[in-house]
Subunit: 138 residues, 2 copies
């Protein structure tokens, strides 16, 4: 499956996860990554919170992000009034949700997220949507 196809499939999976809660709903943005205006992959919301989400589905243990992508996610979220989130689906490990501040920087200054950091700092889906808050051990 193409990388784009895998990404779209992951986005749809996440939309259904929000939909299944009955109290959240989400949509995929058209042309995310190809429009000249900042635009996240997904927007999810309930009556209280709005989440702007960049989605990634990867096989590797480490995900590298594009600096501009993160900058635009924050820009969009600030204007729209949403929380900026990165959703990374690691093969066989499932979804982890982190904020832009959770990302590490490579020596060249590119944002990255290892599975190790995702497991340490990231939230699982029920935590993200506030069903419960898991105790994190430092």
């Amino acid at each position: 499956m193409s990388s784009k196809g895998k990404g779209t499939r992951a986005e749809r999976e996440l939309i259904h996860m929000f939909h299944d809660t009955k109290t959240w709903i989400a949509l995929r943005a058209a042309g995310s990554g190809s429009t000249p205006l900042p635009c996240p992959d997904l927007l999810a919301g309930n009556n209280i919170r709005k989440l702007a989400i960049e989605c990634k589905s990867i096989k590797a243990r480490k995900k590298y992000f594009d600096k501009v992508e993160i900058k635009e996610l924050i820009e969009f979220s600030t204007i729209f009034g949403a929380e900026p989130w990165l959703a990374v689906r690691y093969d066989n490990e499932g979804w982890y949700f982190v904020t832009p501040e959770d990302l590490e920087e490579t020596k060249k200054g590119n944002p990255s997220l290892s599975l190790h950091v995702a497991m340490k700092k990231g939230l699982r889906f029920p935590e993200l949507i506030g069903i419960f808050k898991q105790q994190k051990l430092d």
Copy 2:
């Protein structure tokens, strides 16, 4: 130009109108009208308000809506925590914004909006986003 192409062009025009305000931002939903889950054409937001918008661009003086489309717009808006709006762009007249309550019903029970009613009850873009409220004469 196809009806779909005209619709997409109108949606893009509206997104740029929001973007030009600098205090609002909007995005187009992917596959609106073709996904099994309720989903508006556009979502716009600023720090305070969120608008779920169904867009239409028409040549005729009267627009007929699909009952299910209106029902799903309201359903999405209720869960997401957004205001439901219908944006109709009449050729040579520009955009009018109305709420589902502003729609009339045909004898067969289908929602419709005439240019006359749009002009009477609808808002223009600056009013929609709260730049000013025009005095309406009954």
